[in-house]
């Protein structure tokens, strides 16, 4: 059991907890924990920039979004009669899947690993972002613009009131 595996187990456990939590707010917080775990994994992979992004945006911004959504629909939550039995069955199902995956998926991934080819050039993140994947930045601009318009289109009156 390495530190790396432990982190992954943490992420998986947090994910299961996020699904199983009866309270939506708790779910949202567990989701944040998943993000934190993922960002730790990224740090472990020597990917600090991605990790910082993950930590700030996913664990921060998205959690804020979720929490505010939860607070908006809070009193409706109890009306949705969830079938809790399905959620309680989750650890069992996860366990079965885990065991099955150990026997079936792991050999598959091992064989997949044989196909790996090394990406030779050691570029810095800066060159990758600015030179190689420059058009992705355009895409990012597009999606941010789209996001603004979506929110604008969904809540026009609220904006006016402000």
């Amino acid at each position: 059991m390495t530190y790396h595996t432990l982190l992954l187990i943490l992420v998986a456990a947090a994910a299961v907890a996020a699904v199983m939590a009866r309270n939506l707010l708790l779910s949202a917080i567990m989701l944040a924990l998943v993000s934190v775990g993922a960002s730790l994994v990224l740090f472990d992979f020597q990917a600090p920039w991605a990790a910082v992004f993950e930590l700030s945006v996913c664990a921060g911004l998205i959690t804020v979004l979720f929490v505010s959504a939860v607070s908006l629909i809070r009193h409706e939550e109890s009306k949705v009669a969830e079938n809790r039995a399905r959620f309680y069955a989750m650890p069992l199902v996860m366990g079965i899947v885990a065991i099955a995956a150990w026997f079936y998926a792991v050999p598959y991934f091992e064989s997949l690993e044989d196909w790996a080819r090394l990406g030779g050039r050691a570029n810095t993140l800066g060159t990758v972002i600015w030179d190689i994947r420059r058009f992705d930045l355009l895409g990012q601009v597009s999606i941010l613009a789209a996001g603004v318009f979506v929110v604008n289109s969904m809540f026009p009156r609220r904006k006016k009131q402000k």
Partner: protein, 102 residues
């Protein structure tokens, strides 16, 4: 002990399954989004794992940063749909979404 790459993907599979299970069994619209987020996280881990394996971490990081930006916007759009729907129908129950049929 199996090696690191297979181990990563083993857990990625599990996390993905957890998200999928959530989307399959939950009736609450918000929980659908939580399941969706969990699945997205598994994707992200997959990309970084591959990046580490092929020694192309810079590219993987670039991809992940873009993915995170997209994820935020998508989640924001989804949540605004949810809130809007809640305002009109006063419900977040996914089972009530069956007016279009036939």
């Amino acid at each position: 002990m199996i090696n690191s790459f297979s181990m990563d993907w083993y857990f990625i599979t599990l996390i993905f399954f957890a998200g999928m299970y959530c989307m399959l069994v939950s009736r609450n619209l918000l929980r659908q989004f939580i399941g969706l987020e969990i699945m997205s996280k598994s994707c992200l881990l997959g990309v970084i794992s591959v990046g580490a394996k092929t020694g192309n971490l810079a590219l993987a990081q670039a991809l992940i940063i873009t993915m995170i930006v997209i994820e935020v916007v998508v989640v924001a759009a989804g949540l605004s749909l949810l809130v809007k729907n809640y305002r009109i129908t006063n419900s977040v129950d996914i089972w009530s979404l069956n007016n279009l049929r036939g």
